[in-house]
């Protein structure tokens, strides 16, 4: 098959088939899990098609037209790194979906469960093969959504809701930051393409010389860190353990959390090679590695221990990908990529074991477990091998990548120089020591020691059914195989993965025995210290607990809860302050805004106070005009000051009627007529509305408030006055008014002699239709109001209303 087609089908097959599951469920019932696993296996086979091309160093490329206007297309880039992630995703997918057949009760909502698992898998495959940043973001957010749905799978449980919210807020929010980083990258380089930038020396030089380089780096890294639970973002991962255990194994240890690491690897050629990269990526990684490893001690839930362990292991990967200097940009790349693969094998196995233990012993609390080795010997062996690989015991695959980690830590220390020669290796060893300690704890707590007799644990614990055991055994097989024959994964997966991204990569030479080198000594130190310190494991955990109890604010979770749980209350208060309710305040704000808008041009243009009003205004007026004006002013004031609604409304309508008198005086009887009609109608509407509002007296206004109101309305009145007066000077030369046209053509075009009539029915007849509609509308509105009053009247008789 054409490899491009293979990739496209692998990405979209899960998306399309996921929607058929509810239909298939009605036929296959609980066996639907095997169908889902079959789909995943198909994807695995399709993904494997990419390997020959990756090994040959000719990545599979192709694209579809998508949004040409926005300069976006659907771009596929299948190199070794993409193939590695895709194979991990689909491979673990097969294992998890098979395992789920035993783990998930047949009473569960299985179609939904497998549906979201498949959608997630499709999104992850999308991330793996994407070649432009926007497409990356799209699939990225899809994994956030699917992960949210799966963490909240048991949606009636408050813990699930809490965990899902936290995971979604942090990963999707971080995704938005990454998105901003991508857009900034686009601003600098002029393209959304990833490989395009990575392979262009010119664009890379532009980017590294740009003032936005650091901004891009930080934003993109924040996205990656939030997804991979690094730094302060780690807090979502432990709560994500509310998901069913197979989901945790799949999303929250083997694949989705790798997306952040994968992004760092993918952006490595573009952003690495600077001190900022080393400090940000490795620095965050090293701190997270040590802190998370240490914090695993106080956890009592097996899955929580594994969650902290995942955070710590992902931090290993971050640290190694961060090992990069200008002379040696891809120092830790190969080691990190190998560890990425290994971590997926041993961590997924441990999660499967956790699932088995929880399934058979009905609890995940490590304090209640113990001594299960006799009842579950097969599970015990599987767990020991996986834990040993995690702790770095030779000859398993974890040992190989752990030694590479030590080796590169020593090298980077030498390259950076100064005290860093010691700091890098020491931190690496500290991480190793903690890993060893909690690995021992897992085995010790669950399988060794005396059998506890806790009421939560059944008297007879059975060995796991083969459906659940087989996937774990298969993974353990991989752990041993990769450990004994590292050449196989290196040649087919790791070498193609890093050689495509790191220029001038050397071939990896992996041996179990290098002689008494520094990394070997570090390994020995790790084992000795770890085993010695294990005696104090419980003491250390207790210390952590009391420390946290004393200083609760030290925890990131404390701040997350403080912000998110109180957000609603704070925002409620904010909304109540900004939106208090009474109309008067709103009107005042609108008026103030109006004053600002009129005053702004004066300031903007620098108009002097003298030229606000036009020169030579005529203030002369007849005595009866003055009486009319005075009456208008008095009734307007009355409307504002009278403390009862009804008289105030009447006073307001008096203004309107008085204005109609003014029209009459100005010899416009038709206008006056209209004004009277409108005023009558609006008064009726007003009264009908006002009657529904409680008829109590308005609060007496304090004098200060009256003054403020007066000032505001005065200023508004003056603004309007100023505009109208300026406009009233006449039409600005050289323009002329329409009236000449109307005068000239009214007879000729319409046959009408009365120009006003002609304007109303002919020139602007369309307006008139509109005005008629407004009037009929007002009438309809009145009708509606009367109707609803009648309704509520009858309701009041029924005793519903007060």
């Amino acid at each position: 098959m054409d490899p491009f087609n293979a990739i496209v089908i692998a990405v979209f097959l899960p998306f399309i088939l996921a929607w058929t599951l509810p239909v298939l469920y009605s036929v296959f019932k609980q066996r639907i899990g095997w169908i889902a696993a079959g789909i995943a296996f198909t994807c695995f086979v399709l993904n494997a098609q990419v390997i020959p091309y990756a090994m040959a160093g000719t990545p599979v490329q192709g694209s579809w037209v998508w949004l040409p206007t926005a300069g976006l297309s659907f771009d596929i880039y299948g190199d070794g790194m993409a193939a590695l992630l895709a194979l991990i995703v689909s491979g673990v997918g097969v294992i998890i979906m098979s395992y789920s057949n035993g783990y998930m009760s047949t009473k569960e909502d299985l179609p939904r469960y497998y549906q979201w698992l498949l959608l997630f898998m499709g999104a992850m495959l999308g991330i793996a093969y994407t070649d432009n940043t926007i497409q990356m973001f799209i699939f990225w957010e899809l994994t956030s959504i699917t992960s949210f749905m799966l963490i909240g799978y048991w949606r009636e449980r408050p813990e699930s809701v809490y965990g899902a919210t936290k995971a979604f807020l942090i990963t999707a929010g971080g995704g938005l930051l990454m998105f901003a980083g991508f857009l900034m990258l686009r601003v600098v380089t002029g393209t959304y393409g990833i490989s395009e930038v990575a392979q262009s020396q010119e664009l890379l030089a532009t980017l590294h010389g740009s003032e936005f380089y650091v901004a891009v780096l930080i934003l993109v890294f924040l996205g990656a860190a939030s997804k991979s639970a690094q730094g302060p973002f780690y807090i979502w991962l432990p709560n994500a353990m509310e998901a069913p255990t197979p989901v945790s194994a799949f999303l929250h240890s083997a694949t989705m959390v790798k997306a952040g690491v994968y992004l760092v690897a993918r952006m490595h050629p573009i952003l690495s090679g600077t001190p900022e990269w080393l400090i940000l990526v490795s620095g965050t990684g090293m701190i997270t590695m040590v802190m998370a490893g240490f914090m695993a001690f106080r956890q009592t839930d097996i899955k929580a221990i594994l969650a902290y362990s995942t955070i710590s292991q992902l931090a290993y990967l971050m640290t190694m990908y961060g090992y990069s200097t200008a002379e040696h940009p891809g120092l830790g790349f190969a080691a990190a990529t190998f560890h990425l693969l290994n971590h997926s094998t041993f961590k997924a196995t441990l999660f499967l074991v956790a699932g088995i233990v929880a399934h058979e012993a009905t609890t995940r609390d490590i304090r209640k477990l113990g001594g299960l080795r006799k009842e579950m010997p097969k599970t015990f062996i599987v767990a020991v091998i996986a834990a040993a690989s995690m702790a770095g015991v030779p000859p398993l695959n974890g040992f190989l990548s752990k030694e590479m980690f030590y080796e590169t830590s020593v090298e980077i220390g030498h390259l950076v120089g100064g005290p860093w020669v010691y700091i890098f290796p020491v931190v690496a060893v500290a991480g190793g020591v903690f890993t060893l300690m909690y690995s021992i704890r897992l085995i010790d707590g669950i399988f060794l020691g005396e059998r506890t007799h806790d009421p939560d644990v059944p008297h007879h614990v059975h060995e796991a059914p083969w459906v659940m055991l087989a996937p774990a055994v298969f993974l353990v097989g991989l752990i041993i195989f990769f450990g004994l024959y590292p050449k196989f994964p290196i040649d087919y997966l790791i070498q193609p993965a890093y050689s495509g991204l790191v220029p001038h990569a050397e071939t990896l030479h992996i041996k179990h025995w290098h002689g008494f080198t520094l990394p070997f000594i570090m390994t020995v130190v790790t084992f000795v210290t770890g085993i010695l310190l294990y005696k104090f494991y419980d003491t250390l955990a207790a210390m952590q607990n009391s420390f946290n109890a004393k200083l609760p604010w030290i925890s990131v979770n404390y701040w997350y809860d403080a912000i998110v749980n109180n957000a609603k209350g704070i925002c409620k208060k904010f909304a109540n302050v900004t939106q208090p309710g009474p109309l008067g305040g709103y009107i005042k704000i609108v008026q103030l805004f109006m004053i600002f808008l009129v005053a702004w041009p004066l300031y903007y243009l620098g108009v002097g106070a003298a030229s606000i009003l036009p020169a030579g205004m005529n203030f002369a007026s007849e005595p009866y005009e003055i009486v009319l004006y005075a009456l208008i002013i008095v009734s307007a004031l009355g409307a504002a000051i009278i403390p009862r609604y009804l008289p105030a409304v009447l006073s307001l309508s008096a203004v309107g009627f008085l204005v109609s008198l003014l029209y009459m005086y100005l010899k416009a009887p038709d206008l006056a007529m209209t004004q009277v009609c409108v005023e009558t109608l609006s008064t009726i509407i007003f009264i009908l509305v006002i009657i529904k509002i409680p008829q109590k007296f308005k609060e007496p206004m304090p004098a200060g408030k009256v003054m403020v109101n007066l000032l505001i309305s005065g200023a508004v009145a003056f603004s309007v006055f100023a505009i109208m007066v300026n406009a009233g000077i006449g039409i600005i030369a050289p323009f002329e008014s329409l009236s000449h046209y109307f005068m000239e053509y009214s007879l000729q075009l319409t046959g009408g002699l009365n120009v006003v009539n002609v304007i109303v029915v002919d020139f602007r007849g369309y307006d008139t239709i509109g005005e008629i509609s407004v009037l009929s509308l007002a009438a309809l509105g009145v009708y509606n109001l009367i109707l609803s009053r009648a309704d509520s009247g009858s309701a009041a008789e029924g005793g519903e209303e007060e």
């Binding site: 809701v161 808008l597 041009p601 602007r764 509109g770 609803s788």
Partner: protein, 522 residues
């Protein structure tokens, strides 16, 4: 057919205007009424599609009411108008179908149908007119009809009539204030320029600006239009009516308010401020941008504090319209600093945002109606676990929440992507940073609301959910709109292309002006 094509613009106003009295006359025959109105509304949708395609293929259509050119009133259908009309007819049609089962039958028969038609006529009239006084007239039709519709009764009402009255009061009073300001502005404009035709005014304002003789009050008049259109769009500090009105209105009317009516404000800014007062962009650009940023923050922050699902959506509308206005502000600033392509790009992004928000939010309001129907309350704390009892509303609300939150593959993502990308490209770093921060708020409040309603379990003290689910007439429109939300997220190219052309015409209105003023003497 040729008659139809020739009179398309006026038919889009005339048909609903005529339907209003017909609906009153047939009020005793509810069945007939429903069929007639459905036929009219679907026909209107078809006509609007016809108009859009004819404008897209054949350029700007000018329709003279009478034969007086700029001295009379012209209807102008350019791509902006035609798209807005299409949006109105689409959401209007969906809202109407939904109303058949949602609005209480007595209310529906007596006045609802005719008021609804008047509202559609008013909105189409606003979008199609080329005359600024005529714009005012249709503003009044739209305002009064929508105001009267807010008090219409739902079948299972959870809103007290006094609350409705109070909300209507706020709606009418605050918008009347805007109308008064508009009247002042239009009258002063006419007194100074001597024309009401928008294309004509645009030329004359440009002449004044080129000659450098624009008096200060022309600036003030231009800025006053911010109150007029900002008030319709509910931009800070003119948004106060919205959070009270949207929740109390019946859901299909909320959908119209949020989907179309607040977009009228955005349309007005594009048509009046950008086209007529183009030389003022340096003045109003920064003001609009500032207001928009405050609006985004205010709306999103307030939305987090809400327990009422419709109030949450209402504040979300405030915040989202802020994003649209942010684009307008950035576009005006870019234009006045000489970045013409930048301005086109940013305005186009704003338009994409506008369309996507209109679809998603009207769909969400319709969905909230279904939710209220089912739960018998608007308070989200009294819901929970509805994913089992009403999965259709659950899916619809999720699609809407994802779109509003800008999560791919929904249309809202394309909107945010276009806007942020265009903004960053022209160095609006701080506005985009603020917008991004509140995009996280948006995600939070939308998903929190969704989880409160659909996940968890209902507290038994609030009783059982009602057994009747949303009917087909309610679910149909919701799912059609939801499908569009998804389609605009995946096949977004046509929308992007149209928006690009619209923005180009907004920034360079010469084709519009020519089409209106260079007339063929018949």
């Amino acid at each position: 057919m040729s008659f139809l094509m020739e009179h398309l613009p006026i038919l889009l106003v005339a048909i609903p205007l005529l339907m209003a009295p017909i609906m009153i006359l047939t009020r005793s025959y509810p069945g007939l009424q429903k069929v007639l109105n459905l036929v009219a509304s679907v026909g209107l949708l078809a006509l609007s599609g016809l108009l859009l395609s004819s404008v897209w293929n054949g350029g700007i259509t000018v329709y003279e009411v009478g034969e007086f050119g700029k001295y009379g009133i012209v209807l102008v259908a350019d791509l902006l108008s035609a798209s807005m009309v299409g949006l109105n007819c689409l959401i209007g049609c969906m809202g109407l179908i939904y109303s058949y089962d949602y609005i209480e039958s007595k209310s529906l028969n007596l006045t609802y149908h005719s008021l609804y038609n008047l509202m559609l006529a008013g909105i189409n009239g606003i979008f199609l007119t080329g005359d600024i006084f005529n714009l005012f007239v249709f503003f009044e039709i739209m305002l009064l009809s929508s105001g009267a519709l807010i008090v219409a009764n739902e079948t299972s009402s959870v809103t007290k009539i006094s609350d409705k009255m109070e909300a209507t009061m706020k709606y009418i009073v605050l918008n009347m204030l805007g109308s008064n300001v508009m009247l002042i502005a239009v009258a002063s404009l006419y007194a100074s320029i001597g024309s009401l035709n928008m294309a004509d005014i645009a030329i004359k304002v440009q002449i004044l600006a080129d000659a450098g003789t624009m008096p200060w009050h022309m600036y003030a008049i231009g800025l006053l239009f911010i109150i007029v259109f900002g008030g319709k769009a509910a931009v800070f500090p003119l948004h106060y009516w919205l959070p009270d009105v949207h929740p109390t209105a019946p859901s299909p009317i909320s959908a119209m308010l949020s989907g179309v009516i607040i977009k009228i404000g955005a349309y007005g800014i594009l048509r009046v401020l950008f086209v007529i007062f183009a030389p003022l962009q340096a003045v109003f650009g920064p003001i609009i941008l500032m207001l928009a940023l405050i609006t985004i923050g205010l709306g999103a922050t307030s939305a987090i504090g809400q327990n009422d699902v419709k109030r949450l959506l209402a504040y979300s509308s405030v915040s989202q319209i802020g994003y649209v206005f942010m684009g307008f502000g950035m576009g005006a600033i870019a234009y006045s600093s000489g970045e013409v392509t930048g301005a086109v790009l940013i305005i186009a992004a704003s338009f994409v945002y506008l369309v996507n928000h209109a679809l998603a939010k009207s769909m969400l309001f319709l969905t909230s109606g279904g939710i209220i129907h089912h739960a018998g309350t608007r308070d989200m704390r009294k819901m929970g676990g509805m994913i089992n009892s009403d999965p259709a509303m659950c899916v619809a609300f999720l699609v809407g929440a994802m779109s509003i939150g800008g999560v791919p593959p929904m249309g809202g993502f394309i909107a945010k992507f276009s806007l942020f990308d265009a903004g960053l490209r022209y160095a609006f770093y701080i506005p985009i940073a603020i917008a991004l921060l509140f995009a996280v708020f948006t995600l939070f409040y939308m998903f929190r609301g969704w989880m409160l309603m659909f996940w968890g379990e209902r507290d038994p003290q609030y009783g059982e959910y009602s057994h009747h689910k949303s009917s087909l007439l309610m679910v149909g429109p919701i799912f059609l709109l939801a499908a569009l939300v998804l389609i605009f997220g995946i096949f977004a190219e046509p929308l992007l292309e149209i928006s690009q052309t619209i923005a180009a015409q907004v920034i360079d209105p010469q084709p519009y002006i020519d089409a209106v003023l260079v007339r063929v003497i018949r």
